[in-house]
């Protein structure tokens, strides 16, 4: 199949915040502020960023847990807004999710077989024998024994519950699975098991993943493409290796330099950012990152940079736009 399985163009999500009962000025939290991305079939798009960057909201938008304030989402080439009840259900079946907390993802009052079967039972009318068969097959797929089906979630460990959550996400043979911090809440020695399982399933079933995590190494490991978000905008997006090894955007550079080393001899050039992440209620003008950027120029406060290609990936940064502003004698800044 040609073309991305899921695509977003100029996606916007604002949460209105009312100030006082009689306030006329309505402020808005610009959680997602004009982003565009594409997820290719069988590939993983990794989304990284710190708190307030909008990656969780993006996941909710993809899962239709929130409605976008603006922009377009396309599934297999078709506009989601244009989808009616039937096609919308089709979308729901094709896009599933695995969340962070394995203890909250499963209804403690339901048996594992009912949990895994729920998407099947809701969307298809199959005889119960067939449903049972599929549940057992899914359990096998995620490496859990058959007898797990009749047990309750509390009888399983965190890693096993996450496997159950994955089995459930796969029940309808989706095309896209949103993985929101799937291993952060698990013990370190178990994370590799789950990450390997996810990769194997991707290869086996041709799944696409939207992988959100704060562990940069895990994201780099799992993703084919990485998008870096800051205050609701994508500041850099491209092939995972390219972005991780040679980031161009100053924020990406700072982020990857802040990643913890995997060996004591690993010395990285440390780029320490000043200040805190500004509130999404009132993001800075121009480039949202400029107050903290070690390479900020005059232009950055005034003009928002566009996401443009540079050295094999897209970056939104004035360092690379090539047009030097000559009307002001700028400090170093310039280009790299």
């Amino acid at each position: 199949m040609a073309g991305p399985v899921l695509e977003a163009r100029n996606l916007v999500k604002h949460f209105p915040v009312r100030r006082g009962i009689f306030a006329r000025e309505r402020a808005a939290v610009r959680a997602v502020d004009d982003i565009s991305f594409a997820i290719e079939p069988g590939k993983t798009l990794g989304l990284v960023g710190e708190s307030g960057c909008g990656k969780t909201t993006t996941a909710k938008l993809v899962l239709l847990l929130e409605q976008p304030t603006g922009g377009v989402m396309r599934f297999q080439g078709q506009d989601l807004q244009a989808l009616d009840g039937g096609r919308l259900r089709e979308y729901r079946r094709s896009v599933q999710a695995v969340f962070q907390d394995p203890f909250a993802s499963l209804n403690p009052r339901m048996r594992v077989s009912s949990i895994i079967a729920e998407p099947l039972v809701t969307n298809e009318s199959l005889p119960s024998a067939e449903v049972r068969k599929r549940v057992l097959r899914l359990l096998e797929l995620v490496g859990l024994p058959e007898r797990s089906a009749d047990l309750f979630p509390h009888e399983f460990s965190g890693g096993q519950r996450q496997r159950i959550a994955i089995a459930r996400a796969l029940a309808l043979s989706p095309k896209v699975v949103v993985l929101d911090e799937p291993v952060s809440a698990l013990d370190v020695s178990i994370r590799a098991q789950i990450l390997n399982l996810l990769r194997d399933l991707q290869a086996q079933l041709g799944l696409s993943y939207l992988f959100i995590a704060h562990d940069l190494a895990a994201v780099a490991h799992m993703s084919h493409t990485i998008a870096v978000m800051y205050l609701g905008k994508i500041v850099e997006v491209g092939d995972a290796d390219t972005v991780a090894k040679a980031p161009k955007h100053p924020y990406t550079q700072a982020l990857f330099s802040a990643a913890l080393p995997s060996h004591p001899d690993e010395r990285r050039e440390e780029i320490v950012l000043a200040g805190e992440v500004p509130s999404p209620l009132s993001p800075p003008s121009g480039c949202h990152f400029h107050p903290r950027c070690p390479q900020a120029m005059e232009r950055c406060a005034a003009e928002e940079p566009k996401l443009l290609p540079e050295s094999g990936r897209d970056v939104a940064c004035h360092l690379y736009t090539g047009v030097t502003v000559a009307w002001r004698s700028s400090p170093s800044g310039g280009g790299r």
Partner: protein, 322 residues
């Protein structure tokens, strides 16, 4: 001062259930040493006993917990022989602790200034005025911007990173010799974490502070620590200088753990996973606690728990293979 700052010898802490029927060996025969100004990383997963170990050092166990044997020699004195009053004088003044959740560590009803000044007033009998001005200095030391303003603010008005710094300021206010940090950066964003760890390192150098990091994150250990102690099932399975542990890990658990973590350097390489899950401390496997998951398990491991053996200088491991 001669001798190490902290010397723990054969420490064992048990939790006893309400009816006295079940005994959980949370910490089992742990020994370690820490010198002045050094940094030790205690690594372990859930159920490994690392937090119990930290809490035992300060004798802050809940009623169900009991230190059943061993010694904790701090500056030469055995802490286990001290009275409650003496321990109170030590906590906060000579040994300080930072916990994971800064919001839980700070009282929402008091200003930041009051809270930073409190240890000074309690331990050193400082007057309100002098404690307040020292609090200001401490806020500057932990790199809080506009400290004159912040000092009058309340915890909820600050970000997570700032709160964790406040907690740090409280901890170092009386110039302790040892700071125990239990997962101090788990709730922080990456860049904030980097700032905070750098701050800790600078403070350590400035005050000749010894640091103990309790963490499951091997990255923090790689960045900050001189020594590492790996805990599993309540026992110390490996300990030694950081270079040794990373370059030549002796215990299969340490080795497997290091191999299972994704690295930025060769990110596409398939991870080597460890089978099974960490044991429940209330139901530890017999013999070596790691044997059900160990790729090199032998018959002996199932039956007998291995003693500590010296693998190289200052490098010990509990494994029948060494």
């Amino acid at each position: 001062m001669s001798g190490p700052l902290l010397e723990v010898r054969h420490l064992s802490t048990h939790y006893v259930s309400a009816r006295g029927t079940r005994v959980t060996r949370a910490v089992d025969d742990v020994s370690l040493t820490l010198g002045e100004g050094e940094t030790l990383g205690i690594v372990g997963e859930s159920g490994s006993g690392k937090t119990t170990l930290a809490v035992s050092l300060l004798r802050l166990l809940p009623p169900a917990g009991r230190i059943v044997s061993g010694e904790i020699r701090f500056e030469g004195d055995d802490l286990l022989r001290k009275s409650n009053a003496e321990m109170r004088r030590i906590r906060g003044k000579r040994i300080a602790m930072i916990l994971q959740d800064p919001m839980a560590s700070l009282n929402p009803l008091f200003t930041v200034g009051d809270q930073v000044a409190e240890p000074l007033r309690v331990h050193e009998g400082a007057s309100r005025g002098s404690a307040w001005s020292r609090a200001l200095d401490l806020l500057k030391a932990v790199r809080i911007s506009a400290p004159e303003m912040r000092v009058r603010e309340y915890p909820h008005q600050m970000s997570g990173g700032m709160r964790q710094r406040i907690v740090g300021a409280i901890a170092i206010s009386c110039e302790p010799r040892l700071l125990i940090a239990d997962e101090p950066t788990t709730s922080l964003d990456l860049t904030i974490q980097a700032q905070y760890l750098n701050l800790l390192r600078d403070l350590q150098r400035a005050h000749n502070l010894a640091l103990i990091f309790i963490t499951h994150n091997l990255g923090i250990v790689a960045k900050m620590c001189d020594q590492v102690a790996v805990m599993y099932g309540g026992r110390l399975v490996e300990s030694g200088p950081i270079a040794q542990i990373y370059n030549a890990p002796a215990h299969p658990y340490t080795r497997a753990l290091l191999e299972s973590i994704p690295r930025l350097a060769d990110s596409r390489k398939r991870l080597t996973a460890i089978d099974g899950q960490p044991p429940d401390p209330a139901a530890l496997p017999g013999g070596c606690a790691f044997h059900p998951r160990c790729p090199k398990v032998m018959d002996r491991c199932r039956v007998e728990a291995p003693p500590e053996s010296m693998v190289a200088t200052s490098h010990t491991s509990r494994c029948w293979l060494s």
